[in-house]
Symmetry: C2
Subunit: 469 residues, 2 copies
């Protein structure tokens, strides 16, 4: 009997522990569910993201590095962040490139003297100008650098190279399709120069057929200015037309004129806001996006959305009366588009000061309905993160994947911390990306707010639980 009693006692203890364990897990997750529901309700009913973006897009407009818009955006960012109740808001100096597009570009196809078709074209960021009368020459169309190499100097010398490999439609992630096509834009000029080309035109990085040319960064590598040739993008409709006309009239001429110019680097700033953590002030959680944009639209999706979503996080925490245990930093990075100088400067100074960023989250994939997050994390931490996924599923945030995070935060990767990128629905993103139609009217308020909600919820969880070291 005695033995049985002891056994019973042990069983009892065992069951009580199990019971307490389940009970505490239950209480604990119930609590997270409630907090996240509270974040959702608060964001969807009181978020200031849309109003902030309205101002940034419509009152400031584009903010290419080195432009007046970028200067004004920095001041606006500092001023708005100062209203939210951070402990400290400051500007972090960084030298950035200054490239100026100049007057609107001009381009046409001439199938024979006097028969011309106007073309929608824009200079690529970083390109040199054409002579003031433009350049005019025959066109050689290729789909890849291999094809270009096979044609060689004999076929390419003195001509304009036309890169016309479309983004692949049969990839569900349009970012993957972008990644597989963008070499043409980034390195097309440097490749074409090898074979004597005098100019480069690239099919816009766009999955649909329309009339909007897409700008974006390009690089001449180490080539001296004397060897650089002008590079531009043409709209997808123009690319289709040019390709068709080339089949009929291989010796047609293409003319384009652009007056863009690179100036000396100028001073600019990352905007940083910090709220000290109550328990672990040395553990930093960073959330951000990039404040600069291209100069054709007003950068509402790229990356105004990410900026205002990041700025809204502490607003939301204040409204639900949540005091972070860890230090939260909101960083509006400068010069993601054509240099990444802000991100590199931020990482450099963080390293110098031995700052411990345990988690960094960037929103830089548009203001569309969030589908999930992409994480850069070790296995232990990814297991932890996956244990939170069920908290997001009621809100249709369903993808938690390993992969990239964001260009601005990736220099903070130290192998032990966690980086993440918000992953909105990507289907429409490249309709707008780097064009004149990336404007405020392309933003849906609810979709933008769902992104802010998702980000605030993830920051809340990392703040509460930290990461596994």
């Amino acid at each position: 009997m005695m033995l049985l009693n002891i056994q019973t006692n042990n069983y009892m203890k065992f069951f009580i522990s199990i019971y307490l364990l389940f009970f505490s897990v239950f209480i604990f997750s119930q609590d997270d569910e409630k907090v996240i529901k509270n974040i959702f309700d608060t964001t969807m009913t009181t978020s200031s993201s849309y109003e902030l973006l309205d101002f940034l897009s419509n009152e400031i407009g584009h903010r290419l590095s080195g432009s007046l818009g970028a200067e004004r955006a920095v001041e606006w960012g500092r001023s708005e962040l100062s209203k939210i109740g951070f402990d400290k808001v400051w500007l972090q100096e960084v030298m950035v490139p200054k490239w100026v597009r100049g007057p609107k570009e001009f381009a046409l196809i001439e199938t024979q003297p006097g028969i011309t078709f106007n073309v929608d074209l824009c200079a690529l960021g970083g390109s040199v100008a054409t002579p003031s009368v433009g350049i005019k020459s025959n066109v050689v169309e290729v789909k890849s650098f291999e094809e270009l190499k096979i044609l060689g100097k004999k076929e390419v010398d003195g001509k304009i190279v036309f890169f016309n490999r479309p983004m692949q439609p049969n990839l569900v992630s349009t970012f993957q399709a972008y990644g597989e096509a963008v070499d043409q834009r980034v390195n097309g000029a440097a490749e074409a120069i090898k074979y004597g080309a005098i100019g480069v035109i690239v099919r816009s990085m766009n999955l649909r057929l329309d009339d909007n040319p897409h700008t974006g960064t390009m690089s001449y590598g180490n080539l001296p200015p004397s060897k650089q040739i002008p590079a531009a993008a043409i709209s997808t409709n123009a690319a289709e037309k040019l390709s068709k006309l080339l089949k009929i009239t291989p010796n047609l001429k293409f003319l384009f004129r652009q007056q863009c110019k690179t100036y000396k680097d100028v001073k600019s700033y990352n905007v940083i806001a910090e709220l000290k953590g109550s328990e672990f002030p040395d553990e930093i959680i960073l959330v951000g996006g990039h404040l600069d944009s291209w100069d054709l639209g007003d950068g509402s999706h790229d990356d105004g959305a990410g900026i205002v979503q990041s700025m809204d996080i502490i607003n939301i925490f204040n409204k639900i009366n949540y005091k972070p245990k860890r230090t939260i930093r909101v960083v509006l990075f400068m010069n993601e588009e054509n240099g990444l100088r802000g991100a590199l400067k931020y990482a450099e100074i963080s390293n110098k000061n031995k700052l411990n960023h345990i988690f960094a989250l960037e929103s830089d994939a548009g203001g569309f309905t969030p589908r999930g997050f992409s994480f850069s994390a070790n296995n232990k931490n990814f297991e932890l993160i996956k244990s939170w996924k069920y908290l997001f599923e009621p809100y249709l945030i369903q993808s938690f994947e390993l992969g990239g995070s964001g260009a601005d935060i990736s220099p903070l990767n130290n192998g032990n911390n966690v980086l993440a990128g918000l992953r909105p629905d990507s289907q429409r993103y490249f309709d707008y990306h780097h064009t004149s139609i990336d404007t405020f009217d392309a933003i849906n308020k609810r979709e933008l707010e769902l992104g802010a909600f998702s980000m605030a919820s993830l920051v809340y969880l990392f703040d509460k639980y930290g990461i596994i070291k």
Copy 2:
């Protein structure tokens, strides 16, 4: 030794069976993965959905039941389906209501004689007209039928009732928010009549603030024409303005004028196309949407998208050379919007002919990025369906939920079969629903095609595996 041999033999057999089982499951699922990848590639590179919708939206336009547009859409549907290679395409006669909006409506708020504000207003479908000079009266604003009841005849008699309960922003499904607000539009007039109201205006079923009034069906219940009062929707911006002005000037007057009219029922048609199954011709799989639309835009999302996606299924099967084992029917239902007569007629004739619809799928929630499906199925079949979910996840089709299917197919529910509705992202749907901006330019080609792909893949699986009886 012998015993051991026998044992070994048995073990061997056991392992071989297990191996074969796993191997066949592997082959089998590998095969489905390949077929679905093939459906994806084919749809995303060669789908005709977008081109079909371009014609339906831009060449035919709106197609409210009983209108010339509806007649033309029926002919177009028959003609296009006849090109695809069905065994049979036919029209199924059905009598439908004919309600005509008449000239553009007019409305204003008069805060005092001579001080007026124009208001964006449209008649609700099925409403009676106002007198030709319009009706003008004081306004009583309510959020619910309970509130209306409390005010009672004393406060309501002779006035215009203004239903102004917004759709709830803090629900991730905008359809749920719609379901919780739409009683105001559907039954508002019948309720207000009880207390002597002379007219009803309803805040549009829209989550954002804009200037587009949303039409939609309304009902007077069993009230005779002599008791019916005019009912209209005002835009959300107008609703906000009217509500604010009422706080300052409770005795302001509202005037509206509409000349809509209900005519006698007219003859129309469901369009049906059938491809006989090679193995189980008596088991019917139905896929469809509704061909009619409201009359303000061109019904591209509601439900042009569902129509062209459904029409594309057999096109896609033909391209991948897949021959269905079961009978596939594509049905373009008439009169979903204001009567459901097509759906009821289809079900009536199917029942009379003892047709066995094992599965029916409707797309009627917009042409946005598909997020998954909602199913009406018993537990056994839902388990089967869930076992296919992994096949869709690589394409970010992630929600397989029990719930409703589609208005047109729900009369086919017999308790044993499976019904499903495509569930696209719902965030933007009510920006367009039943308005003048539900037009072709609001459609994204890829999103539309991803819906067609999802539907074709699900139809393929039901065709291959059938349902559990």
